[in-house]
Symmetry: C2
Subunit: 179 residues, 2 copies
DNA sequence: GTCTATATAGGGATAGAC
DNA sequence: GTCTATCCCTATATAGAC
């Protein structure tokens, strides 16, 4: 699974062969079929696993507090979690179109759950009077797109630590939905 | 070219065969080689063409005015331009890894030029005292990610017009880099 | 400029020996 | 549980007729 994830992230699902994955772990291609029924299932398991782990990790975060506090927690959590597993993020985002329709629907449903939490935080902030988003649904999509984008340029060897990146993005997110 | 772009956007470069592209326009696969030397060149021409057209369209926009006015123009331009050609945007973003190293370097250079303009607008705003970005380079990447994300959810048949979307995003962008 | 036919390579998946 | 060998299919790209 790890080898497949790495190769899919680097070259794309369709461009990676079962033979390449097998070679990466030192077996012949046929041996992989003792663990997975087919290549599509392999991709689906990786993507569903990533989304379920994301939701599970998110569910462990505090749910109380002000909308502003919850928004900050969401922002910092998202950046930390995504920067820690760039391959899974990349594959889960780029290979949606490689999923069969039924598998796509499942992964899309999980993604939707994640987006919904942010939307509800923004709505709560609006009700509180502490936040202001012209359209909470779109603001949620905009914030997630902005935050996820960090995975495209961040390098651990670069000039910024994850903490610093969190701070910069939190500053922008906070202002973008401020009253 | 149009058929290839559409198919690449839908299924991915590696997943689309020359036979599929040929069938889409009603010829046999071999006939395509009268127009392109190979499949890689086809992808490269599409991506370079998109980035060069983007830069050319951007170069025609007004360059003077306050940083705030230039930021608003950049924001609205980006959304309008990208929503008008979702397939080209999608392919140019998702298929970077399908390019040969030399072709990747060219496309990446063009993309960098586009990002640089936004970064320089933010720096000008900082100098003017009208904008405030903790880190102009990262703020530029964050804003572009946020804006480009609109292509993943926008549907012309949905509840919002492009004008309304522009307004919502401009409001968020403006606030996110406000003093 | 397009066709048919093909060269050459590699794909996913399975069978059966060990 | 892995191997070798293979089935069957499809891929990119080219050759040569028309």
């Amino acid at each position: 699974m790890e080898a497949a994830l790495r190769l899919f992230a680097r070259h794309g699902f369709a461009a990676v062969s079962m033979r390449q994955i097998a070679a990466e772990v030192g077996v012949q291609a046929g041996a992989l079929y003792n663990y997975i029924p087919d290549k599509q299932s392999l991709l689906f398991d990786l993507m569903r696993g990533h989304m379920e782990a994301l939701l599970a990790a998110r569910a462990e975060r505090p749910k109380g507090g002000s909308a502003l506090a919850r928004l900050e927690d969401f922002t910092r959590f998202h950046i930390r979690y995504h920067l820690a597993r760039p391959d899974a993020v990349f594959v889960s985002y780029m290979e949606l179109r490689s999923l069969s329709p039924e598998n796509f629907a499942v992964v899309e449903g999980l993604r939707r759950q994640y987006e919904d939490e942010l939307e509800s935080i923004l709505r709560a902030g609006e009700a509180e009077g502490s936040l202001s988003a012209a359209d909470p649904r779109i603001a949620a999509m905009a914030v997630i797109a902005m935050l996820t984008g960090v995975t495209t340029w961040y390098r651990a060897a670069g000039r910024l630590t994850v903490d610093q990146v969190e701070g910069i993005y939190w500053d922008m997110v906070r202002k973008s939905v401020s009253v």
